[in-house]
Symmetry: C2
Subunit: 349 residues, 2 copies
């Protein structure tokens, strides 16, 4: 076993077709990251059956048997009381300091509830958020909150901006990410009060490259690197993008299927289509994170394949290596958000 | 001049390249709807210059000279005080009963402000909303509010459901449109309190085919015909769809441009691409309406062409013929929304 201390705990029982997809994903991540050790929680017999296919992976894994696992339909209020599940145990490993991050493809609400309860929010952060990378026309941006907080005030949004900024620096390798608040207009008085308050707080912090408001149709145009929204609007935007991608791809397939000539043209298009697909392949953006907690908790898409799962591991490892959580704590040392918020509310209302 | 009383007033000075695009659009609409008379407000010399190209259109038009017009950057608070603009005059024609609908491609905020002030909301309706048709995989759905009301309570959302239901019946020709509230989850307790209140009100009305919550990624899957949202979320969803369409089309073009083989395949694909484009052609969905007012006010996209403008006219005429506003009033006779709302709030909170 490696003596390196990059340890990630894994909920082997989350997602469709687990633990098969999870273990195969670990083997892919292991090839790219031989320094990571994995603490694997799940049904020992099933996990071992899969693990036996990857002997070199097995050397960096410790398997912990759990009798139970979280089901998709389980309520968060229920799962936080059951310490026997693979998800609970995997998160608890981060709480105990045995692992630096946890990755699960299980029930999002459950993972969020367990992570919040066990890892607790970073001091000075009021609410954790869900963040993810997404594609724009020239590369990637990050967006938060994608659904953890249905309603947010200005101070919550400002905290998301701080965390998103550091996330973009570390995950996208940017020096000065452009930070924007999602809104329904670019003018100062458009949208909701909490967005105006957040804008004032962020401006007065002076530490972010804040570019103002951004409307959703401008997001794919590479105009900002960090998109900040409340969890309701962020989730609506994310799911609208997903739905539209599926719709257009479906309409394209249908148009080609309906045309004799287009079918003849398919062989010419294969290379271009492959390239297009690789640009928007959702597996490349797999691994939404709960940020704002004292430990990294990463949610892999439940329906992803081994490659997608391995990308979630890569993303988690990258942020651990760059001390993402330490960076957030450091940034917050110099900021008094409550005071800034009071000033901002005075200016706005 | 026709003796028929379908009269539509036109702001000839709104939108890019006006009045040229507007008048050409009228001529296209006139061919399909010879029974419509138009009251055309704008710079008489410029309007006549264009109108001279379409002699048969001229016979059904009355031109009213206005010295001024609303600019894109004009503030709503400013435009409602200037009665001399083509937009103001065109809306006023509806107020006076001289026209049944007004169509403008000008500044959205200005048109909304003038329309609200002059036409007033229908009795029992608290807030007007912006509604539009949009494409899903098998046809069309309608969605509201797309941006008129940043924050809404349960009763507002229930009113939108009532108006959207009638709109879908008339504009899409449906008997029992499936009405859904946009939300970030399908479970009963997901999302915001006002959405839960609206769900209770709508259920208790018993007159709508209410199917519950819908998440944005399910909208293109033909699961509902009327999507109800507050103006902020609705606008975010709309603009996310727009941005994603533009992004994907751009990525497709780029992939083809970068591939020698794909370029060779273009001729085979032309027919299929044309069909695809015709499915999602935004001009076919042109004409967002302010619903809930005592008169139809239709906003054409500022950047559309003559064909797009003519579609907005068609949509307006169709709703006038079906007595859309009368239908809303009739529906509201039997509903006591305030009482239903009190009951719903009691159930939810």
């Amino acid at each position: 076993m490696s003596t390196n201390n990059l340890v990630i705990s894994i909920d082997a029982m989350g997602g469709d077709n687990s633990p098969k997809v999870v273990i195969e994903g670990l083997s892919l991540a292991h090839k790219r990251n031989p320094d990571i050790r994995f603490l694997v929680y799940g049904d020992e017999a099933k996990v071992n059956e899969e693990m036996d296919k990857y002997p070199s992976l097995k050397e960096v894994c410790q398997i912990f048997h759990t009798e139970e696992f979280v089901h998709n339909e389980d309520k968060p209020s229920h799962v936080i009381r059951n310490r026997a599940t693979s998800m609970y145990q995997a998160v608890e490993a981060v709480k105990k300091g045995e692992a630096s991050a946890v990755v699960s493809a299980g029930n999002t609400g459950a993972l969020m509830a367990i992570s919040k309860m066990l890892l607790k929010t970073i001091q000075k952060i009021h609410r954790p958020a869900i963040i993810s990378m997404m594609p724009h026309q020239n590369g990637r941006y990050v967006m938060l909150d994608l659904g953890a907080n249905t309603e947010c005030d200005g101070i919550n949004l400002a905290e998301f901006a701080i965390m998103g900024n550091i996330f973009a620096k570390h995950a996208l390798g940017m020096e000065q990410p452009r930070v924007a608040l999602m809104n329904i207009g670019a003018e100062e008085m458009k949208g909701k009060g909490e967005i105006h308050v957040a804008a004032h707080i962020i401006k007065n912090m002076n530490s972010l490259n804040f570019i103002g408001y951004i409307e959703p149709h401008d997001i794919p145009k590479d105009k900002a690197d960090v998109i900040v929204a409340d969890g309701f609007s962020g989730n609506i935007a994310l799911k609208s993008v997903e739905g539209t991608c599926t719709l257009i791809m479906r309409l394209i397939k249908q148009s080609i299927k309906d045309s004799f000539w287009a079918k003849l043209g398919i062989p010419f298009m294969l290379g271009a289509m492959k390239k297009l697909k690789s640009n928007v392949d959702p597996r490349l953006y797999n691994g939404a994170m709960f940020v704002g907690l004292n430990g990294l908790s990463v949610k892999s898409h439940g329906g992803t394949d081994a490659f997608g799962f391995s990308i979630a591991i890569d993303n988690a490892a990258n942020l651990v290596r760059k001390d993402f959580i330490g960076s957030i704590r450091k940034e917050l040392e110099h900021v008094d958000l409550d005071e800034l918020s009071q000033e901002a509310c005075y200016e706005v209302y």
